[in-house]
């Protein structure tokens, strides 16, 4: 489809650009007057973008001469990203970490990053893939370093930039190899030509696949490209950490599936085995590294690496069931992980601590928050009948179906390991007496938002209709 016709299907992205500019202008006009105003304007912008995404709907179209793809898959990720961003904006309003004077840029960046993520989810061309990845990365660097007075935050941003630059450079090299071999930048065309090339030059193809994986693996924080993530997650403002661990990861997986499902899926190079090992290492590393953590934010950072490993299992299968399992898991992961981070924000704000010690006796100080956290943590572990179990179930079912028994066993044993560190928080909240007996009070809005995470975390474990729906989708029409 040509450029002018494409505009019609590109409205969500355009709305995002418009609102990113509007937020900056609004902030200039009302400088220092209303810090929540920018947040509400951003939320409104996201609402408009959501409506636009739904209006454009589930069409199968290639835009801008095959650069961008609009399909159910892209729509799915756009909605996930929009929800995660909206939640992050609300988190930022609740949290008191941010400097009220700098909030205009902050919200503008949060909106602008959506543009990059949208393009990641819908890229049909390796150029767009790379550009969108860079857009997201550059914006994330600034967001991670947003607490300018906090040296940890600056350190986080620096680490993020250095790792990011190396990873994306490596990826670019991989992409150029692929371009050199196939002479095209279209993902679908690469996918058509690569099998033939791979049969004569398997090493070249494998090397380029590994190089490309460096870029994507860095976004989803998979071993061995994960090193930035604990420091960044710990140093960044908590809402940004929550955002990176959900939206950024989701966008990374979207791009990953786009690239690997279409381009490399059919090659005879055995990269699936390699990535299965990477997936096993990622979850094992994430879980083992989380064991000794005392800082809950850092603990959740490692836990999110581990969850990236679980998700990776679904991708390497290259089966429709695997991809659907990844999508389903991402929905559930979004609710439970954002919920857990919200509790971290609330506790950091009221107790003033991000350490496990700060959670001691939370059950008597703020019973609802503590119970909600217990639900999120057990769901992250994968205990039935909570949603996390449903997510893991579909993932493991897909893995066992492909007869990768060893991977499934590594995966389930990892769940057992993860129980140990999640339960340390539960233990602190429920079993240990608190040093401070004062009850904590939270606003009704916060409690309502917490409830909005608790309900799906319980419901999706019992009510599986969403998965039934996903399962019945024909994959070739879903990802066109």
């Amino acid at each position: 489809m040509g450029n002018l016709e494409s505009i019609r299907y590109f409205t969500p992205e355009l709305i995002i650009v418009v609102f990113a500019i509007l937020v900056i202008l609004f902030d200039l006009v009302s400088r220092g007057q209303s810090s929540n105003g920018t947040a509400y304007l951003s939320l409104f912008g996201l609402l408009c973008a959501t409506i636009a995404v739904l209006v454009v709907g589930n069409v199968n179209q290639s835009l801008f001469f095959g650069m961008v793809r609009i399909d159910g898959f892209a729509t799915f990720f756009k909605i996930i990203i929009l929800i995660a961003t909206a939640v992050t904006i609300i988190f930022s309003m609740v949290s008191n970490e941010l400097d009220p004077k700098a909030q205009g840029e902050y919200y503008a960046l949060l909106i602008a990053i959506n543009l990059g993520m949208f393009l990641m989810a819908s890229s049909a061309n390796i150029l767009i893939a790379y550009l969108s990845l860079e857009t997201v990365s550059l914006t994330s660097y600034i967001l991670a370093g947003f607490l300018t007075r906090n040296p940890r935050s600056s350190e986080a941003a620096f680490k993020y930039i250095i790792y990011g630059a190396v990873a994306s450079g490596t990826m670019l090299f991989g992409l150029s190899l692929v371009f050199g071999m196939t002479g095209t930048t279209s993902i679908v065309q690469i996918g058509q030509q690569l099998p033939e090339i791979a049969s004569s030059y398997p090493t070249a193809v494998l090397v380029s696949i590994i190089f490309i994986f460096a870029g994507v693996g860095y976004k989803i924080a998979s071993v061995p490209f994960h090193m930035w993530s604990p420091d960044v997650y710990e140093g960044a403002p908590i809402p940004v950490t929550a955002f990176l661990s959900v939206a950024s990861k989701a966008a990374g997986f979207a791009l990953f599936i786009r690239l690997f499902y279409f381009s490399f899926g059919a090659t005879n190079v055995n990269w699936t085995m390699l990535l299965s090992v990477v997936s096993a290492l990622t979850m094992t590393f994430g879980n083992l590294a989380a064991l000794p953590q005392q800082n809950v934010k850092r603990l959740l950072a490692y836990s999110s690496i581990a969850h990236g490993g679980y998700l990776l299992m679904g991708v390497v299968l290259l089966s429709g069931d695997g991809i659907k399992a990844v999508l389903f898991y991402l929905i559930i992961y979004m609710f439970m992980n954002l919920g857990a981070f919200f509790v971290v924000i609330l506790v950091a704000k009221e107790v003033g601590s991000e350490n496990i010690d700060g959670y001691k006796g939370l059950i008597s100080r703020a019973p609802f928050v503590a119970v909600a956290m217990v639900i999120f943590l057990f769901s992250l572990t994968g205990m039935p009948p909570l949603a996390g179990f449903a997510g893991k179930w579909v993932l493991f079912a897909a893995v066992v179906e492909k007869k990768l028994y060893w991977l499934a066993i590594v995966g389930v044993l990892n769940s057992v390991v993860s129980l140990y560190y999640y339960i340390r928080i539960v233990k602190a909240m429920l079993f240990d007496p608190s040093e401070d007996a004062e009850t904590l009070s939270f606003s009704r809005g916060s409690m309502a938002l917490l409830m909005a995470f608790v309900v799906p975390t319980i419901l999706l474990g019992i009510y599986w209709k969403p998965y039934d729906f996903l399962k019945d989708l024909p994959l070739d029409r879903f990802i066109g």
Binding site: P384, P385, E401, V412, L413, V416, L419, I423, K427, K471
Partner: protein, 499 residues
């Protein structure tokens, strides 16, 4: 409907109990007590409605739950389930009664207990493998909190150990379960988790599920899951810790019901669904012979010897549990009618007797605030009724003819002897040691000169007696006339692939 209401009434009760206002916490106890009476009443109704002469599964409820995996909410009972459901339902009100003195967070405690009851009853009714697993896991969370919050000094360690061990076992079971599902049919639309269907498929020769190699691996997956729960050596180390730290009523449920979930699973899944796997582990291992029977005998001897060495009353009972569960494994390993009947009877008997023993330990602990067997002495003079009931429970547990413990163990041994003489003879060491530690304990706690510290110790009170009487009566009735229980589950035994 009978089963469904039995499963979910405790869940509703759990919510109601939570809603009781803070200043009326006594009411919570009465509400919980009344709620547990409903499943008991329904279980008795079920007992009378159930037709033991029929081989059919009864009281079936079946509706679709998760279409994508063809998972159904499918419940129903056979004689074995009815027996264990009756035991579970009976222990409901008894445990609420035994928890009467708990002060700390009683509402949450009772609510978790009721949630546990939902999990246990649901587990014994489930006929869909997925549902079975969900109920199996559902008992984990409440148990973790009940031990971790209301337990003894090392409660956190015990609770987490219990949780990690059981989860480790059950995740392996999860993989086995998915593998069974995927092998149930080549056509993704026809795959099933339905236990009766899977059982019949696994016995159809040529079917992927009947493949011996597949069955051996699936058997291992399920076996480890259940072995942790039973517990079978070497997966048993969580049990003494959990028992010692758990509050009395929770120890009772743990010993009487949760351990039975393991053996029930072994009968339902490993025995019935994976006969080729069972073959391999009962006579396919060359010179190792009957691996399952060896594990049973190890449990019996090891459990009894450990019990003999204990000075903590509760730990002694916990280790004796490991020993007695060994007879269940031994009976199952024999794979003949006498052995399996004995094994199931032993499940029921151990449920009743160990519940009594833990209640009795709780009674003396509430008064003396310690459980050191050597720290008592001569209590018989001050607490004659308590001494009498304890003697009854001890005698039943050590297998005195005429009381229930004897029948189950005797039948297990009878079945086992016809298959493997040497192992059976070895296992009788456990019985002798069992008699030794119980009699020695009796002597140290109740006989001899009265320890002056306990000059003013109170006799067992009416509430405590009331929790013990139903169990005591059952011990005697089952000892004299075991037939009424055996009749209940006879068809379940005959329906198994015996040899």
């Amino acid at each position: 409907m009978l089963l469904t209401s039995m499963i979910f009434i405790p869940l509703v009760g759990a919510i109601i109990v939570l809603l009781v206002p803070r200043d009326r916490e006594d009411a919570a106890k009465w509400i919980a007590f009344l709620v547990t009476l409903i499943p008991l009443f329904l279980a008795v109704l079920l007992y009378f409605q159930y037709d033991p002469t029929s081989v059919e599964i009864q009281e079936v409820v079946e509706t679709s739950w998760i279409k994508a995996f063809n998972i159904r909410y499918h419940t129903g009972v056979d004689g074995l389930s009815v027996t264990l459901i009756l035991l579970t339902a009976l222990l409901g009100p008894i445990c609420v009664g035994a928890s009467w003195k708990i002060e700390k967070g009683i509402k949450v405690y009772l609510s978790l207990f009721l949630l546990l009851e939902t999990g246990m009853i649901g587990f014994f009714c489930a006929l869909d493998l997925f549902l079975f697993y969900v109920f199996f896991e559902l008992t984990l969370l409440p148990m973790y909190f009940l031990i971790g919050v209301w337990g003894g000094p090392r409660r956190e360690y015990a609770a987490i150990k219990f949780f990690l061990y059981t989860l480790f076992g059950s995740v392996l079971m999860l993989i086995a379960m998915i593998a069974v599902y995927l092998n149930s049919s080549v056509d993704p639309g026809l795959r099933t988790f339905d236990i009766p269907t899977l059982i019949s498929l696994a016995q159809t020769s040529g079917h992927a599920l009947a493949d011996p190699t597949f069955q051996i691996w699936a058997f291992l997956g399920f076996f480890i899951g259940f072995a942790v729960k039973v517990p079978i050596f070497p997966f048993h180390t969580w049990l003494p810790d959990a028992h010692v730290e758990a509050p009395t009523a929770i120890s009772v449920v743990l010993a009487a019901i949760l351990l039975k979930m393991g053996t029930y699973g072994l009968v339902r899944i490993n025995f019935a669904m994976l006969p080729a796997g069972m073959d391999f582990f009962t006579n396919g291992l060359g010179r190792w012979g009957n691996a399952l029977a060896i594990l049973g005998v190890v449990n019996i001897i090891y459990g009894s010897l450990c019990a003999l060495a204990q000075t903590d009353f509760k730990k002694l009972v916990a280790y004796s549990s490991i020993g007695h569960m060994g007879f269940v494994i031994l009976g199952l390993a024999a794979r003949n009618e006498a052995g399996v009947t004995g094994a199931i009877l032993q499940m029921l008997n151990h449920g009743v007797i160990s519940a009594m023993l833990f209640l009795l330990v709780g009674v003396v602990y509430d008064r003396a605030h310690h459980r050191d067997i050597n720290g008592f002495g001569g209590l018989g003079a001050k607490m004659p009724i308590y001494t009498g009931i304890t003697t009854l429970a001890f005698m039943a547990s050590l297998g005195l003819p005429g009381l229930s413990g004897f029948v189950g163990e005797a039948l297990s041994l009878l079945g086992a002897y016809s298959k493997f003489q040497l192992l059976t003879i070895l296992s009788t060491i456990g019985i002798v040691v069992g008699a030794a530690y119980f009699l020695w304990t009796l002597q140290r706690v109740f006989l001899g000169d009265l320890n002056p510290k306990y000059e003013a110790i109170e006799e067992i009170n009416m509430r405590e007696i009331a929790t013990l009487i139903p169990l005591g009566v059952l011990t005697i009735v089952l000892g004299i006339w075991p037939h009424f229980a055996i009749e209940m589950f006879r068809n379940s035994v005959v329906g198994l692939p015996l040899q």
